[in-house]
């Protein structure tokens, strides 16, 4: 029983990452109709926004410590961050400690900027081009972005821990009357889940309850008619692209404490996010979110020892197996719209 509850939690947690990435992708791919292979790279850049900010906060000057020696036997040079000098050690430490949450503020403008620049500078010219061209250009862009990050940060994962306050685990057992210490879940992963829920809710609310959102939805359904009505839909789509990039980026920022980011993490998530979007159904935002959580939960259950003993290797293929079954039983995924990217 506890095992199942825990796997559901794992699934929700993984699912929230999948859903967030897929949500951004489906805004671009499922609605603007652009096959964006650079979406994984946007997720990755978001994660590196967190890395960058924590590097900026901990920019240091060297102080020679004569009591210690370095590996060559010379006096050790100790890095002292400037924030220590400016705010004192306690405040400085707190700033460095809270770098990841602070990065949210840093990442939003950066990611919206990147998204808008990408759309204006590149994608705009590809709306009418064949999907093949979109694949090539966005894949090229993804490689370029990835190599730029690699050039500055190297290929090794960079540990980016959550603030100390979130380091422990929440004991569901004690809170809900089970045995203590059995159902525990790390605070940060719960924060991630909550954060994902807020972002997903915000995007839906924005599209559903604002005039801007209404126009965008109308544009998604029938771009030409909306244009004929004299509405500048292009500008709104540009902004949607920026929002999609920001959603992907924030998913990346918040993911850094869960797994140390590296320059190819985007490619690791790219294929998966396409699978999630398509299983959810092209052109459906709720579908993408639902598929994200569904695949996350199934993946978690498939990794249980009890399951693997019966079907060894199931954890290797579960996502793809589920994708095949769903696509064969439901022609347009879970909630796909007719006629989107079907021919």
């Amino acid at each position: 029983m506890e095992a199942i509850i825990l796997q559901v939690l794992n699934g929700l947690d993984k699912g929230s990452a999948y859903a967030l990435i897929a949500l951004g992708l489906t805004l671009i791919f499922g609605t603007l109709g652009v096959v964006n292979f650079a979406h994984g790279a946007l997720f990755m850049i978001g994660a590196f926004c967190a890395v960058t900010l924590s590097r900026i906060i901990s920019i240091s000057h060297e102080v020679v410590d004569n009591t210690q020696t370095d590996f060559l036997g010379n006096p050790l040079k100790v890095d002292v961050p400037y924030v220590y000098d400016w705010f004192g050690q306690a405040t400085g430490d707190a700033l460095i400690d809270w770098a990841v949450p602070l990065s949210i503020l840093f990442a939003i403008p950066v990611m919206v900027g990147i998204g808008v620049a990408m759309e204006r500078g590149l994608i705009k010219h590809f709306y009418k081009r064949p999907h093949a061209d979109q694949i090539l250009v966005t894949f090229g862009l993804a490689i370029v972005l990835q190599e730029i990050i690699k050039y500055f940060y190297g290929a090794n994962p960079i540990p980016t821990p959550a603030p100390d306050a979130f380091r422990g685990s929440f004991d569901f057992g004690a809170a809900f009357g089970f045995d203590p210490n059995v159902i525990i879940y790390p605070y940060w992963r719960l924060v991630y889940f909550g954060f994902a829920a807020i972002i997903i809710g915000a995007v839906f609310a924005f599209l559903q309850f604002t005039t801007f959102g209404m126009v965008v939805r109308a544009g998604m359904a029938d771009r030409e008619t909306v244009q004929l009505l004299g509405i500048n839909i292009d500008r709104r789509f540009t902004l949607m692209f920026g929002i999609a990039a920001a959603v992907a980026g924030l998913a990346g920022v918040m993911y850094t404490p869960i797994n140390s980011p590296n320059y190819h993490m985007g490619m690791d998530f790219l294929v998966l996010s396409f699978v999630v979007v398509v299983v959810g159904g092209m052109g459906s935002l709720p579908g993408a979110v639902l598929a994200g959580f569904l695949l996350g939960i199934l993946e978690s259950f498939a990794s249980m020892r009890e399951v693997l003993n019966i079907l060894p290797g199931l954890n290797q293929i579960i996502i793809y197996l589920v994708a095949i079954i769903i696509l064969l039983t439901r022609p347009r995924g879970l909630m796909g719209r007719k006629g989107v990217m079907e021919d």
């Binding site: 825990l6 796997q7 590996f71 050790l76």
Partner: protein, 445 residues
């Protein structure tokens, strides 16, 4: 359809070209000359450094490449001579190899066996490399080793830890200085027993591929021999990034030790996740829960950050060793690049020197002469204490380091501390236990 015609046509055309070629040449030859592949003719000799330059192990590859460049410098008499001064064999004079200046070519393995072989083949076929070395995974090592056997050049493996490289996939032209899974298990088990007791219950998470299998097997058998019980072993996909669903079941088991048979990004993520779930603060059966990582590398420790503190593992070499060889190597590497070398850099540097020395002692670049010179070669002063290159499987036997994550690192390179130097006698095994056939050395054309 006139398919047959076309084939004949193709053949005819080829024939015509070859015929036309025959009338023109200043010389025409089949590949055989000098008795072995790529025999150096001029006053230089070319070595091929095949390391991962893209993909997840790019940083490790970069460190390997630095080590090779340093080795070439020392072989050609530049720099401070590094390990040439402490190496027990004095055959190398710092005037290149057999008087020929050492040159090198580099390539990118991408940590994929196909790409690694393509790169190695281009070094052999295009650049005339007489020895290939490097690499950062066992898949690549085995693939390139097989290629070198076929092509008739020497392969000096870089970082490869699977038993297979000098076990079931061993080849006469391939040599490995790095240690392997078996040695990790044999070295770690006594230390684990001494620190954590003899009645522990272990839970293994294992990367689902060859290296993971051999490592799990090694750690399991050697800990079970000391009284540990293995509660469960679970295989995890190589492409897994979030290990939470593999870690929560541990909370339900009565295991009190978690063994992570993971390498690279897998290990960084699984360890980070395990610590997140509070496993290190856990008490089971009245004992502190512990995590073990059989194979450590500095880059992995760096990627996992503070999570490695106090966690046991094994390495081939570490820069904080205080013997003359290690000190000399750290000094010349650190002076040139500004930071201490990793174990990957060390094994690659040593492999390059061992090859050069074997050529010098064997008196020829012929792979068979090199193989003969390395066979059962005993040496010292390379940082690992007295070492034997065993003739039966071309595996080096030397002390193994058991390390643990340092509690108070003084720099970003100072992440591990040496707990114990396990003597070579404790990690030696019989060459026949892993099967495989060494075959005969192949000098190529």
């Amino acid at each position: 359809m006139s398919k047959l015609n076309l084939t004949r046509r193709g053949v005819l055309q080829t024939g015509v070209v070859a015929g036309a070629g025959l009338t023109l040449p200043t010389y025409l030859r089949a590949e055989s000359h000098a008795g072995f592949t790529n025999a150096p003719t001029g006053d230089t000799v070319t070595l091929g450094f095949n390391v991962p330059q893209s993909g997840p192990y790019a940083d490790e590859g970069a460190d390997e490449l630095r080590a090779y460049e340093l080795a070439v410098e020392h072989l050609n008499g530049g720099g401070d001579g590094g390990l040439l001064n402490t190496f027990s064999s004095k055959a190398l004079q710092g005037n290149g190899i057999l008087g020929k200046k050492v040159e090198y070519v580099t390539g990118d393995t991408q940590t994929k066996s196909d790409a690694a072989r393509a790169s190695a083949r281009s070094m052999i076929e295009k650049d005339g490399a007489v020895m290939i070395t490097g690499g950062s995974s066992s898949g690549v090592a085995v693939a390139v080793q097989a290629l070198c056997q076929e092509a008739g050049v020497i392969f000096m493996a870089g970082l490869t830890h699977s038993n297979d490289t000098t076990g079931k996939d061993k080849k006469a032209n391939g040599f490995r200085h790095f240690f392997n899974s078996y040695m990790s298990g044999a070295a770690l088990a006594p230390i684990l027993a001494a620190n954590y007791g003899n009645d522990r219950k272990a839970y293994h998470l294992t990367a689902d591929y060859n290296w993971g299998y051999t490592t799990e097997e090694a750690v399991r058998t050697s800990t079970e021999a000391l009284g540990w019980e293995t509660v469960a072993t679970v295989l995890t996909p190589l492409t897994q990034t979030d290990f939470s669903s593999y870690i929560t079941p541990i909370l339900q088991s009565d295991a009190d030790v978690l063994v992570l048979n993971h390498y690279g990004g897998n290990m960084v993520n699984s360890l980070t996740n395990a610590v997140q779930f509070g496993l290190r603060d856990r008490m089971v059966n009245g004992k502190q829960f512990e995590i073990v990582v059989p194979l450590y590398s500095r880059l992995m420790a760096k990627g996992a950050g503070a999570n490695v503190k106090g966690i046991f593992g094994s390495t081939n070499w570490h820069w904080s060793l205080q013997d003359e060889g290690s000190k000399a190597f750290v000094k010349s590497f650190g002076t040139k690049y500004g930071f201490p070398p990793s174990q990957a850099a060390h094994t690659c540097y040593v492999q390059a020197l061992l090859y050069a020395d074997a050529v010098e002692r064997g008196g020829s670049f012929n792979p068979c002469a090199v193989g003969e010179a390395l066979k059962d070669f005993e040496f010292d002063g390379m940082g690992n204490g007295p070492t034997l290159y065993r003739g039966e499987d071309h595996q080096c036997f030397k002390d193994v380091l058991v390390v643990k994550g340092k509690e108070n690192p003084t720099s970003e390179f100072d992440l591990l501390e040496i707990v114990e130097i396990t003597p070579v006698s404790q990690v030696t095994y019989d060459a026949s236990i892993f099967g495989g056939e060494l075959g005969a050395c192949n000098p190529g054309a």
